[in-house]
Amino acid sequence: MSTVKLTVNGKAVAVDVEDRTLLVQLLRDHLNLTGTHVGCDTSQCGACVVHMDGKAVKSCTMLAGQADGANVTTIEGIAKGDELHPMQAAFRDNHGLQCGYCTPGMIMSAIDIVHRHGGQLDEPTVRQELEGNICRCTGYHNIVKAVLDAAGRMKVSQAAE
């Protein structure tokens, strides 16, 4: 057992876990943050994507101990109170989700994509960047629309800040 200390969604936490515990297990089983999902166990589907120190990571493929000292943000931590993150709002407004299972990972990956590409996003770039997130419901059509829509909204909201 080890004690892992990290910040999750702005709160400092210390969790005693078996050394083999994965970050996703720490989030889901120990912190009850069940918005982060497991879809494949092999780093392929991206349902487990969270942000660690500002970068998208697959939480099913790293040990909780590797997040010691890190700042982790999950799907539960991106809205400001009742105000949705622009990416969340864009997924809703563009019908970018159906069953919702891949959605948290999609949104976390998509925010990271917009951060990395700024205003330079186009459809082929979004499609290529989403390669590590699998959705079985939407055929990606509306997810791509949502990401492009949110990229515009995030630029506006950053400009306003």
């Binding site: 078996e18 069940t34 999902h37 166990d41 809703r92 069953c99 390669e131 959705c135 079985r136």
Partner: protein, 780 residues
């Protein structure tokens, strides 16, 4: 149409919880004292189970129990069932071997469970499973249809000699032979419909909780049809009588058919929770999903089409072998028969059809309904045949289709189905216009000048949905009726709860079903909630599959609404001292037509519940229910056209355009309908280009993770160009046909027709991987 009524693009009510991480899927639920199950699964495709030694595992920390298949037998837990009886052409019933939830004696596919470890945590259960020693005696295995039907092939079940489940026929053989005898042209085609893994993103899961004091079970499970699960678990598996078993399907992360069936794991979890006296949770991992979720498709077919001198189809002969895997899953028997062969007429006027379907056991994962279920296989076959015929006869493939379209309705096909309405020319026109079919030749020439092979492929599909009229399916062997139920509860404050037997696992019922209420009463959808997925709340229902939830489920809601409105109008008329016939419902008010007299819905509701001043003899309350049984299937149809380029140097396919023109009858929420089409197209294109569940000759699965099985990803797919043409379905009052499966049914043929057009060679099997396409281009 109001802003939230029928036809409005309302954003989904359910989305907030999903985009904020507050969805509640089975694996998100924890119960006090919950244990965790890990199944021990056969690594062999066919073997005798000689011995299971769990002594070392039982000594490990946190291990509660190790339970085996023999204990299931000892406790008289029933075997899994197949719910649709098919009769072979010789009059004999289909031949099935028993499918125990955990194998006591013989395993017949890789992944079949033989035992389960129950422990305090998931990791401890996995650790202990490693310490259970199972002694297997390997037997020879067969993994594909050809191997299974050879004489001398290893046999799976003594009940089914030659590994044959049934040999079933439909249609008029004599009339079909006569048509071929006078044919001007005959077109022949051999087609393989590749095996697919459904891969809903949420793996299956179950939590079983036994209450010893009440002798009552609660099961949380990833189900598309919780009431059917309860019925089967009660009536056939001896788990508990229905009133002692509550089945809850909370948020479910996609189904595509794979979550219709009652699987061994939830049965074992229920049984085990009683044995160990604690709740038992099982959550599958992705490899378990590949090994145990029912697969789809897997047919091989030889077909021949007879045409007269005017290119009119006069006959169709089909022989199909369908791979069922190692056991007959819940609805598997119906898929290659009544869901497949009954659609072989396609959109065409074919006077004589004869089809023979042989169901075959192999040492592979069981096969059952996967999005479209039989109809994609039929549509793919017909649309490949049409394209082949056009090439052979040197006529335009779109024109050949027009020459043969059914244009008069109703139309009785020679294979049971009576198409009620449609306009196949209209959808083909819309698709051809959208893709600029006339300009294709110029684009092809342009692409050629850049070294690319450009192709165009048409697919005109039809499907039978709105499953299904109970009497009709009963006469064909179904073990259940396929009506739907609904209940409308108007609360004393005027808010409304709709209870439905349909189940949403991505389809957006919490929004579309509210839109019907908004349309009829003029109340905002925020005032309405949809209750589903819990057998303690909803009395009964048949669940969601077969594009049935709008055509059947929503119609049941409409019927209940009409009853509720009728009573509410009586109350309003009494309060307003008006004639009931003069009451109209507008904007949430009951008005006396032509006057300014009105009473708001909450006041009517309150009057119903206070019962201080109701019409004489009226019962208090405002709650009505209805069961709706459709009178016919519905027949969504449409035209898909795919334009693509093939790089002759690599065999890689790139989409140029994909257009879909669908006729779904009335649309409740076009945004959600389009989403359904997008997803279906992705699955159809996935089948055509990428997906293939492969076994080696010994029955070892080669594709059991997302690293090996090629799921469609964002950069494999184009954006889609959708449009709708509309003929209202005459079979239900809302005119709805259903939209959930169309994309998966129509897309594959459009893609393969386009690739084979591009490369100028007609024979190409799915999935058309770059390797396969390159080899086909360069084959001698």
């Amino acid at each position: 149409m109001g802003v939230e009524g029928i036809g409005a693009r309302v954003v989904r009510k359910e989305d907030k919880r999903f985009i904020t991480g507050k969805g509640r899927y089975v694996d998100d639920i924890k119960l006090l004292g919950m244990t965790h199950a890990h199944f021990i699964r056969s690594p062999h495709a066919h073997a005798k189970v000689k011995n299971i030694d769990s002594s070392a595992a039982l000594k490990m920390p946190g291990v509660v129990a190790v339970l085996t298949g023999q204990e299931l037998v000892d406790d008289k837990v029933g075997n899994l069932i197949c719910g649709w009886a098919i009769t072979s052409k010789d009059g004999s019933p289909m031949k099935m071997g028993a499918w125990p939830a955990m194998a006591p004696e013989t395993v017949r596919f890789v992944g079949q469970a033989v035992a389960v470890v129950i422990a305090d945590t998931k990791n401890l259960a996995r650790d202990a499973a490693e310490a259970v020693v199972v002694d297997y005696e390997e037997l020879p295995a067969v993994a594909d249809i050809q191997a299974a039907i050879k004489s001398g092939a290893p046999q799976l079940h003594p009940e089914a000699p030659g590994n044959q489940v049934y040999d079933w026929v439909i249609g008029d053989e004599g009339a079909t032979d006569a048509a071929f005898a006078k044919a001007a042209n005959v077109v022949k085609l051999d087609v393989t419909n590749n095996r697919l893994a459904p891969n809903a993103m949420e793996p299956r899961a179950a939590i079983a909780d036994y209450d010893a004091a009440e002798e009552h079970f609660t099961l949380y499970t990833t189900s598309q049809n919780p009431h059917v699960a309860r019925l089967v678990l009660s009536a056939f598996y001896n788990i508990a009588p229905e009133h002692k078993l509550r089945v809850i399907a909370p948020d479910v992360g996609g189904g595509f058919g794979s979550k219709i069936f009652i699987y061994p794991e939830e049965m074992v979890a229920l049984w085990a929770s009683k044995k160990v006296g604690r709740p038992v949770k099982w959550t599958g991992d992705r490899t378990e999903a590949f090994l145990t979720d029912a697969h789809g498709r897997d047919h091989i077919t030889h077909a021949e089409m007879a045409l007269d001198a005017n290119n009119k189809i006069i006959g169709l002969k089909v022989k199909t072998y369908a791979n069922f895997g190692a056991y007959m899953s819940l609805f598997s028997s119906s898929v290659p028969t009544y869901l497949y062969a009954t659609l072989l007429s396609g959109q065409y006027n074919i006077p004589a059809i004869h089809a023979e379907v042989v169901g075959v056991y192999t040492n592979t994962t069981p096969v059952d309904a996967y999005r479209g279920a039989g109809r994609p296989e039929a549509s793919y076959l017909i649309e490949r045949l049409m394209e082949t015929a056009a090439r052979q006869l040197k006529v335009d493939p779109a024109q050949l289709r027009r020459t043969n379209f059914i244009t008069q309705f109703p139309h009785q096909t020679p294979v049971i189905m009576a198409y009620d309405t449609g306009d196949f020319n209209a959808s083909l026109d819309a698709a051809m216009k959208a893709i600029d079919y006339a300009g294709f030749a110029a684009r092809k020439a342009q692409a050629k000048s850049q070294g690319k092979l450009r192709g165009i492929g048409v697919s005109c599909y039809i499907e039978a949905c709105g499953i299904a009229p109970s009497k009709a399916v009963g006469s064909l062997g179904a073990g259940v009726g396929l009506w739907e139920s609904a209940e409308v509860r108007v609360n004393p404050v005027g808010t409304i709860e709709i209870l439905t037997g349909s189940h949403s696992h991505g389809q957006g019922h919490e929004t579309t079903f509210c839109q019907l209420v908004a349309e009829r009463l003029g109340v905002p959808i925020s005032q309405v909630s949809i209750v589903h997925g819990d057998t303690d709340k909803v009395q009964f229902g048949m669940g969601t599959y077969g594009s049935r939830s709008a055509a059947v489920g929503l119609t049941a809601i409409l019927k209940a609404m009409e009853k509720m409105e009728s009573k509410a109008k009586k109350i309003a008329a009494h309060a307003l001292e008006a004639s009931e016939a003069d009451i109209v419902i507008e904007n949430g008010e009951f008005k006396v037509t032509g006057t300014d007299k009105a009473i708001a819905l909450p006041m009517v509701a309150l009057a119903a519940y206070t019962a201080h001043n109701l019409p004489d003899g009226m019962e208090p309350g405002l709650k009505e229910s209805a069961f709706y049984d459709p009178t016919n299937f519905t027949f969504p149809a449409g035209a898909y056209i795919c334009e693509l380029e093939v790089d002759p140097g690599t065999g890689k396919t790139s989409f140029v355009n994909f257009v879909a023109a669908d006729d779904f009858g009335r649309l409740i929420n076009p945004m959600i309908v389009e989403g359904q089409v997008h997803g279906g197209l992705a699955q159809g294109i996935g089948q055509a280009l990428l997906e293939h569940a492969i076994y080696d000759a010994n029955g070892q699965p080669v594709t059991a993770s997302f690293m090996d099985y090629s799921m469609p990803r964002a950069d494999d797919l184009p954006s889609f160009n959708l449009s709708h043409t509309t003929t209202l379905c005459p079979g239900n009052p809302l005119g709805i046909k259903g939209c959930g499966e169309a994309g998966a049914i129509g897309a594959s043929a459009a893609v393969i027709n386009a690739i084979t057009d591009a490369i100028g060679k007609n024979n190409l099997e799915m999935p058309a991987t770059p390797d396969r396409v390159w080899r086909t281009i360069h084959a001698a």
